[in-house]
Structures are given as C-alpha cells and as structure tokens.
C-alpha cells in the first residue's frame, strides 16, 4: 500500500468508516488435512523478501498446541468491554523459523554425505508448526485437528486503534485491514494489541506486516491464494453480509461457522466450522456413539459456548443424510462445485494475466494456478 495515506487517525477510520462490504472467510476444520498448501502459496506470493523469512501470514497450527508464535493464546491483546488488554510483543524467537541454511556447502562442498542440513545459526527451539500432530489425549482416543490461521480482518480491529501513526486502516469497500508501509514506523503496538498475534515485524525494512487478504487479487475478482490453493476445498471466501453467499449462510443462517476466541473482543471475519472428529473408543474397543473425542470444553475455549449448537447442527444434518434425506448445509460444505467456495471472486489469475499480456501489477498464483473443476 505504499504511498497510500488515509487520513490522520487510524482510530477514527475504524470507528467511523461505513463499510460497503465486509470480506470474510470460513474454514471447515473437518476437511483440513494440514497439508500447508495455503501456507506455502501465501509464502510464495508475499513473504519471500529479506526480513520476512519468519513470516507466515497464513499457517496451519495443530490443535491443541502451543501454536505460532509459541503460546500466542497467553499473550494478551484484544478488548474486554471496550477496554484494551495490554498484550505481549511476540519476538522472532517466539515465532521461530526464517532459518538460513548452508546449501552451498552441503550440496556442492563435498560434505553432503557426512552432514545433515541444519540452520546456520544454532539449534532452533521453535518454529512454525513446531508441534505438528502432537495434539492431546491418550491412545486410542488421542486427538488433534488443524487450524489455519491468518489475519481476521476484524470488524473491531484493535491493531488499527493502537497504531500511533495512522498507518493502518480498514478499507471501506471491503473491510480489509491494510497498512500503509510508508507511514508505518515499526513501533509495533499493533503486534501487541492483536490478540491473534498474526502481525510480524520486518527488521530489515523496520515495518510491521500482515496478511492483506491478497488485495491485488481481490481487486481483480480473484480469490486469495490460500483459498484457491486448498486441495481440501475447505476455505470459503466472500462478502459476509451477502445473504445468498456461503459465508453469510454458514455464519448467520446455519450458525455452524464460529469466530476463533470471540472473547478477544475484536469481532473477527474469519470463521471456523468446528471439528467433529471420530467418535471415541471404549475400553472394550467398541465405539462410543454418544461420546466426543475432542473434549467439548476445549472446543468451547476456542470457539465459545455456541460451539455446542454448531456441532449438534452438523450431527443432525449428518443423521438426516444417513437416513436418506438431503442437506443443503452439507452440500455447501462439501463444495461439489469448486468455484462455489469463492463467492464473487471466481476469476482465474492465470487467464487474467494472459489476457493482459502481463500480470498487470497483479500477483498471480505460482502454485496450482490453473483452473480446476
């Protein structure tokens, strides 16, 4: 957003801007296989520059887990009853990653048969997805699930309010929270204030950086790279307020998609269909059809008390289909038609680039960019 200056007051912008639309996403956690295609497609597009090695604007954490940055759920931030909660400023060490490897020495220096490829700077102690697939519980009822995480482009963006320079603002046309990097001074109050800890510091450019919802793609009718590259078809994109769109229906009509940690007080616009998980086994090896493998208390701690109703709704719909009935909700979640995931954002970036003779300033997919069925 270089060169774009949006008035003096970030706080005023967030409080007084009347949104024309609010873009949002729904991730169906029952379909996420933790393949990190979303993470990698985002990484390839946005965070390859120097100083961004540790940045993963979209990443998939294994839950339960300490996540990325390490123990982010204990770092504070957000708001309670309109009062900001002081937050911890996550460090590069807590994010982990961004390691540099001496490929040259191992691959071409003759040591490749004797040594393993290791980061140059010592032994890392944490990194993105460090606790992958560890989860919780005891065999045979151990459990985990995957949680894609990114900027929530909140309706109440505490990061915008916290910014002392007015560098951050919420776009009136689509509700995307963006940053004017020319006005950002690297003060990082946004990183403290954000309770989801999805803002990063680029120490080379002395600016904070975060997911911009693939804004250049959005402006050309293309869904964000994380959503388009997802092989599980679990990432829905669209205007939250569109009554015919999947986001509105999943969040407000069927009420099966919930914000992460609603108690943080920022009103996120990324929602999750909570995981049902397989039924637990009894000691004799039979299936406990009435039980839950993932403790409901844990899911409540993530998604709030409404998770009980959401799970019940999903189970009722599954029962209906198993009994020979039909379910528009389940059909929507299955996403028989790939493009049904993307609302009005169904343009193919590859075709746009070809038709313009260049990419026209738009960032196109480099992973899985071709049209699919």
């Amino acid at each position: 957003m270089a060169g774009e200056r949006k008035g003096a007051s970030g706080a005023a912008a967030s409080e007084h801007t009347k949104l024309q639309h609010q873009l949002g996403m729904v991730f169906d956690l029952n379909k996420c296989i933790g393949c990190q295609a979303c993470s990698v497609s985002c990484k390839v597009l946005w965070t390859q520059e120097e100083g961004a090695g540790h940045q993963w604007w979209c990443k998939v954490n294994t839950m339960p887990g300490r996540g990325s940055p390490r123990d982010w759920e204990q770092m504070g931030g957000g708001e309670r009853s309109g009062v900001p909660i002081p937050g911890h400023l996550p460090t590069r060490e807590e994010f982990g990653g961004g390691w540099e490897f001496d490929f040259e020495r191992l691959f071409y220096g003759g040591t490749g048969r004797r040594e393993a490829l290791r980061p140059k700077a010592g032994q890392p102690e944490w990194g993105p997805n460090w606790d992958e697939d560890q989860g919780a519980g005891e065999y045979p009822n151990s459990y985990y699930f995957y949680l894609p995480r990114m900027c929530n482009h909140c309706t109440n963006p505490v990061c915008v309010e916290a910014c002392p320079t007015g560098a951050m603002y919420k776009r009136a046309e689509d509700g995307i929270v963006v940053r004017n990097e020319d006005a950002c001074t690297g003060a990082r109050f946004c990183m403290e204030a954000c309770p989801y800890k999805v803002i990063y510091f680029n120490h080379i450019r002395d600016v904070a950086q975060h997911c911009n919802f693939c804004l250049p793609r959005i402006e050309q009718g293309v869904a964000p790279a994380c959503a388009r590259s997802c092989p599980g078809r679990l990432a829905f994109v669209g205007n939250v307020e569109d009554p015919a769109g999947p986001i509105h229906r999943l969040v407000n009509e069927w009420r099966v998609a919930l914000p992460l940690h609603p108690e943080y007080g920022t009103a996120p616009n990324v929602f999750y269909v909570p995981p049902l998980a397989p039924k637990p086994l009894r000691e004799d090896g039979t299936i406990d059809e009435g039980g839950r493998r993932i403790p409901i208390e844990y899911l409540e701690s993530l998604f709030g008390p409404r998770v009980r109703d959401a799970l019940q709704r999903l189970e009722d719909e599954l029962a209906t289909v198993r009994a020979g009935g039909s379910s528009e909700l389940l059909d929507t979640l299955i996403a028989y038609e790939w493009k049904s995931l993307f609302g009005h954002l169904t343009e193919d970036p590859a075709k746009l680039a070809v038709s313009e003779g260049s990419n026209g300033g738009m960032v196109v997919e480099q992973v899985g960019g071709e049209e699919r069925g």
Binding site: S9, A12, E93, E161, A162, P164, T165, H203
Partner: protein, 236 residues
C-alpha cells in the same frame, strides 16, 4: 527556561569525541515521562498506564557553530548500555527485535509551540531525530521532520523538505562512551526550509528534547521529554 549558547568555534565539531567540546560548557536538561494523556491511541494509554517509561531523566546539551554549520551535542547515561540495569528491564529485547536508543531535538520559533507534543498545526516544529542501529536490524539513522502535533490515532510527523540535501541537511554522528551515549547533530546555518526557526548568527530558537530508552521498549510517544524549554542563541 535554560539558556544554551552556540559559541563560535573554528573547528569542525561534528564528531562527539572532538576535543573542542571539552572547552564548551553544557546545559543540564531535566527530563520527565511524556504525559500518558498525550499518547495517541487508547491501546498505548492503557498498556503503559502501569508500566514505567521515560527512564532517561537528564541529558547534557551543548552547542557551537563555525559560521557555516551548527553543532548540537547531546549526551546522556543510557540504561540500555548500563551493565546490570538492562537486565532488570522486563521489556528488553535482543537482536533484530530490539528497539533502539534514540534522541530528538525539537526546534520552534517561539514558546507558543508545544514542544513535548511535537508542535501543533498552528505552531509546527522541526524535529531532528537520531536512532541507534539495531544489531542485525535497521541501521543507525537521522531524520529531519516537521511536526504538527499529536492527536488521537496519529503522530503528525512528516519528512521536512530538503532543499539542499546532502551536506546541507541534518547529519548526526554518535558514539558510546561507557554507559554514556553522545550524539552531535549538525546542519548548515540558514539552510532550513519550511516552518522552522532561522538558525543564523544572532538568532534565537526554542528547543525541546526527547530521549527513548530502547531496552525499555520506549518508542513513538513513549519517551522522556524535557520539562522546560531551552533557548538556543547563536553567537554572532
């Protein structure tokens, strides 16, 4: 209000270790934490309400000119450099994440300008700001800024127009001397453009000062500011 005279010298005093500084008396400037109410966002006011900041409480300012350039020297004991003290600061960050020690001089034409609040739209100020380099991170830098005050959600600072650029612009040289930081700002006399006081022999300018203790995560409006303005007179 204290008085600071930029005495005429024949040496180049842009280096803080230059011997010529030993012959120039300085003025001790008392500092206090910038008011919490002046912080530009609700988050900052809440987060720092119970957290000590403005840890630098005093600096020594001295000034000189050689007929072409003004030299303004600031020195202060830095908790960031103090052995044992840094470790006691709960917010001390290491490596590229660290916040730098920094200092600023605020220049105004009159006492009407609110120096501690970076001026106002009616009474803009000039801000010369220096920040130390961060190991593995951003390099040492000096900025020449125009300030029009602090308001809810924004610090109104923008780069000053640089008519002369290069040698005419604001420069800074710094060194660490034990636990002491020493910084010399210099710039050509009469070279400033925009709403700023004339720096010329015979003129007088009002100064304010600010310091940031990087090891205490001080940055932006979280800083020490001078408790009273200082009058800078440039010797004929």
């Amino acid at each position: 209000m204290s008085n600071l005279e930029a005495v005429r010298v024949s040496d180049d005093l842009s280096d803080p270790s230059a011997r010529g500084w030993e012959r120039i008396a300085g003025v001790s400037v008392q500092l206090g934490a910038a008011p919490l109410a002046d912080q530009p966002s609700r988050y900052i006011r809440t987060a720092w309400a119970a957290r000590p900041y403005g840890l630098a409480r005093t600096l020594l300012a001295s000034a000189a000119h050689d007929g072409e350039r003004l030299f303004l020297r600031l020195s202060w004991p830095s908790p960031t450099l103090a052995e044992g003290e840094r470790e006691r600061l709960p917010g001390a960050l290491e490596g590229p994440d660290a916040f730098p020690d920094a200092c600023a001089v605020v220049l105004a034409e009159s006492l009407q300008a609110p120096l501690g609040r970076w001026g106002s739209p009616e009474a803009p100020v000039r801000v010369w700001r220096w920040a130390a380099g961060v190991p593995g991170g951003v390099a040492e830098r000096v900025e020449d800024l125009l300030g029009e005050g602090i308001s809810e959600g924004a610090e109104h600072l923008r780069p000053a127009p640089d008519r002369g650029g290069g040698a005419l612009g604001v420069q800074a040289r710094a060194r660490c001397c034990g636990e002491q930081r020493e910084v010399v700002f210099s710039r050509a006399l009469q070279a400033q453009e925009g709403p700023a006081p004339a720096l010329a022999p015979g003129s007088a300018t009002v100064l304010g000062f600010a310091l940031w203790v990087g090891a205490n995560q001080e940055r932006s409006g979280i800083r020490s500011i001078s408790k009273a303005p200082c009058k800078l007179a440039v010797e004929q």
